[in-house]
Subunit: 346 residues, 2 copies
């Protein structure tokens, strides 16, 4: 198949922008270095609910509600919402968003879901199929642990390469690139499934780094752009282990990214002070870091040209027990400061 | 919120068409009334694999492979694939489609996934964001039973309202409405989440019928069209129980659909001869019936103007154990015979 390969081109999304973003987090995220930047937090991680799963839905509800409040919009003014989470059958989203009665597209992209939603939303808005869409994603540490691994009460020891599933939800409003906004979407580049044979459930960074590398190298090849055309290349969420593997994979391929490369799961916690091993992960991780930290920096023109790579590990406990390796994906969204930032043509 | 409601409009998808479709089925589907119309079948339901989950992935692989063969295309000529299934973390799709290396969008819409994929694909093609996309969805009876209910070996008795999860995968090629094709996509109308409080895991028809009714009534209200503007209004998959509830809900609302209303889960099996209780369901059900039966009838101009409503129950065993009702959704895709069929403007 390699020989016949037609080179994948980025898809222009001119005219689409991230108009607003909201973030809802648990106690550990609030206690981290980005704590004061989040919109809503709950030190109990329960958000007034009785179960972790319901708490996750409630975070989604609060994130979308906060987003609509910021933008002074009612739910009926949103043409569609793209949503997803890590719970089986994506019920965090289905229960969390039902009361809004917005046309709903359920996504499953594991930790890449926020990027997948931004990508599809930007295309619909850019091409006139929607005026305004929302993207909402979430994860909850305790809900994810008991679904994917063991209930927290089990007290299993964590591997140094294990990432910490974020308790948080992020929401984004995508609309036309006019007036006050956080960032413009220049173009998007959807990822493909990459399976390099990694079976270690406690090393998602190693699973996802090759997917991020695949998307990034193909994007640079297709556009002629280079790392130094960007202020920041931010993955979400490779963690400390994965970002180091990605740096090495790129270096081997002759691409030097240096200090420009960072990761939402690395930024979110203070590794020295907080017990998070390889850093954050989960559908909520890149969502809250982009919403509360990266997009506001683009708005303030402190960043001008950013590549956001949402990385996901399609990790199913059932398949792993059946001896299968873990497939991964990385979707790319190119963001620009609304103040005309950004080198290179899109 | 009701008072502020802005009426949702259908989104035009002119210029997009279903160019080809492929279907892969198990033994029970092959033995049903549509048996000879399917492209590939395996009487063992295992497709050469060792587990039901791997068999499901293999069905997806075979469906997409058959589709590419029919269309004389290589995988590199497909700009994106939209895919999903019922397995936790949608691994049926992730494993089944990874070797094709096509940019991948994971969806979760339960049994509405085929419609969700057709809807998003049609918009991307219609609006010039993609030349050609594929949609692939699947379900496997034995994999679904052991994940959602009990392993088949348990021999649990089935309720009369329970539907039979289809063993099958369907694949669709969406591209520009030129030359030989199965059907044109006129417009789409995404559904919203509808939760009417039904908690019965053995009655998905009752869960989904209100969602189908919601989408259909709002579509008729928004367009001014009526049931007799269409040759067929086909849901996928309400089954015998759900289609009867939908008929009653519509009748109560003053909309008489009569014989025009049918359901993929009803058409697929011979209820008298096959032990399927309330009919077929699962992400594979509407996919194979649309691919093998309905779309070819549109191509032959035996049907001119069809409303396809993909219905999904966001049913998670974990949430149901926590006492939550089951949310549902119905996405609408309006299809036209390529030979200029179809009354009413789109």
């Amino acid at each position: 198949m390699e020989k016949l390969k037609k080179e994948q081109k980025p898809i222009p999304a001119e005219g689409a922008a991230v108009l607003a973003a909201a973030s809802v987090v648990g106690h550990k995220e609030f206690e981290g270095p980005l704590g004061p930047q989040f919109d809503v937090h709950d030190m109990s991680d329960m958000f007034g609910e009785e179960t972790f799963e319901k708490a996750e839905s409630e975070m989604q509800r609060e994130a979308l509600s906060a987003l609509l409040g910021m933008a002074h919009l009612s739910a009926t003014e949103i043409d569609a919402v793209f949503a997803g989470d890590l719970l089986n059958q994506c019920v965090g989203s289905a229960y969390g968003l039902s009361e809004f009665e917005i046309p709903y597209f359920g996504l499953y992209g594991a930790c890449s879901t926020a990027a997948e939603g931004l990508l599809l939303s930007s295309l619909l808005v850019s091409r006139g199929a929607a005026e305004r869409t929302a993207v909402v994603t979430s994860s909850h540490n305790a809900a994810a642990e008991r679904q994917y691994r063991n209930p927290l009460e089990y007290g299993g020891q964590r591997s140094p390469t294990a990432q910490w599933t974020v308790t948080g939800a992020g929401a984004f409003l995508i609309g036309h690139a006019q007036g006050k906004r956080l960032a413009d979407v220049a173009e998007v580049f959807p990822g493909r499934i990459v399976d390099r044979g990694v079976t270690d459930l406690a090393n998602m960074g190693a699973v996802m780094a090759p997917a991020a590398c695949d998307t990034l190298l193909r994007y640079f090849a297709a556009t002629g752009l280079r790392p130094d055309d960007f202020d920041l290349i931010v993955t979400g969420d490779l963690g400390f282990e994965g970002i180091s593997i990605l740096g090495e994979l790129l270096e081997i391929s002759g691409v030097h990214v240096g200090e420009r490369l960072s990761d939402c799961g690395v930024m979110l916690y203070d590794r020295e002070r907080q017990d998070v091993h390889a850093g954050g992960s989960g559908c909520g991780c890149s969502a809250i870091v982009m919403a509360a930290h990266i997009l506001p920096m683009l708005q303030r023109n402190e960043l001008k040209n950013v590549l956001f790579l949402g990385t996901g590990a399609m990790m199913s406990p059932a398949s792993t027990r059946q001896g299968l390796a873990i497939p991964a994906i990385a979707h790319l969204v190119r963001l620009r400061s609304p103040d005309g930032g950004g080198k290179g043509e899109a």
